[in-house]
């Protein structure tokens, strides 16, 4: 028998809409379990949102967990838990990125921003994939990551990205074309 957290993670959006009240009533232990179950996926998505900078990704994930566990962000059951969580991660990462830029601008370290390279191993098995992804426009990178890495549908990816389905589909097709060309 599945736990409440597992049911919430696994439930498709239409089921989630029907059982929205049950999902919202998730207590802290249930929420913690749901987050734990999605932790690795969340970390992967945070990495992608932070241009594969591991320390920034971890920081963003910590902020997101704090937001959720302290009740600042509440799941209302309008989409699947995973889609909602990914949208929160994406927004938090964007917010943190803006703050970081402002912080650095105030300290007049603009050249360092321009020179900033993602930390971490670039000589790994998928270095070429990472390099190709980095060169993609943000929307294309996001949609490809969500579909191929996190196994979301384009509809779900559109929800996470906060764009229309048509727009997400266009980014998806263009992104795939670019990747094919770069990885050839």
């Amino acid at each position: 028998m599945l736990s409440v957290a597992a049911q919430i993670i696994e439930a498709p959006p239409n089921v989630m809409e029907r059982s929205a009240a049950a999902a919202v009533a998730l207590d802290e232990a249930g929420l913690r379990n749901a987050l734990k179950a999605l932790h690795l996926e969340s970390y992967g998505w945070a990495l992608s949102c932070c241009r594969r900078r591991a320390d920034e990704a971890e920081n963003v994930l910590q902020l997101v967990y704090l937001k959720l566990l302290s009740g600042k962000a509440v799941f209302e059951g309008k989409s699947s838990f995973k889609t909602w969580l990914f949208a929160v991660i994406r927004k938090t990462a964007a917010h943190e990125h803006r703050l970081e830029l402002l912080r650095r601008l105030r300290l007049s370290r603009i050249p360092k921003i321009l020179d900033a390279k993602p930390r971490g191993e670039q000589s790994g098995v998928e270095a070429r994939l990472k390099e190709a992804l980095e060169k993609l426009p943000a929307r294309q990178r996001e949609v490809l990551q969500l579909v191929f890495y996190h196994d979301l549908s384009i509809v779900e990816a559109a929800k996470v990205m906060g764009v229309g389905i048509g727009s997400a589909r266009t980014h998806y097709e263009r992104g795939k074309k670019q990747m094919r060309r770069r990885l050839a």
């Binding site: 970390y43 902020l63 967990y65 302290s70 971490g120 994939l129 490809l144 191929f148 990885l183």
Partner: protein, 115 residues
Amino acid sequence: MMNDDSELRARFANLREEDRSAAPPFGRTAAAKAASSRRASFVRIALAALAVLAIAVISVLRTHRATDTAAGELAAWSSPTAFLLETPGHQFLDQTPRLGEPLMHALPAAQDGPQ
């Protein structure tokens, strides 16, 4: 097309495995910010209290100063028609007459006129 998708999917799957091996444990991620958040919220509350206190002190000082100024202004105010109240010979009414002293003494020199 299908082939491309499956190739991309395989590459992303490898990347996912690589990321998973480097992911921090859930416990560390979930617990790390809680402590700093408590500290940050304490600092935030202290700053807010300090700001409220500063505002209160400033407003009290301002009110006090404004009351003083208003009282001073009121005391210094005189009506534009106040000169009409200065009737000729008002000096006689302002002073108590003394025995042995002529009342004319109270008059200013200008009013003494030619002797």
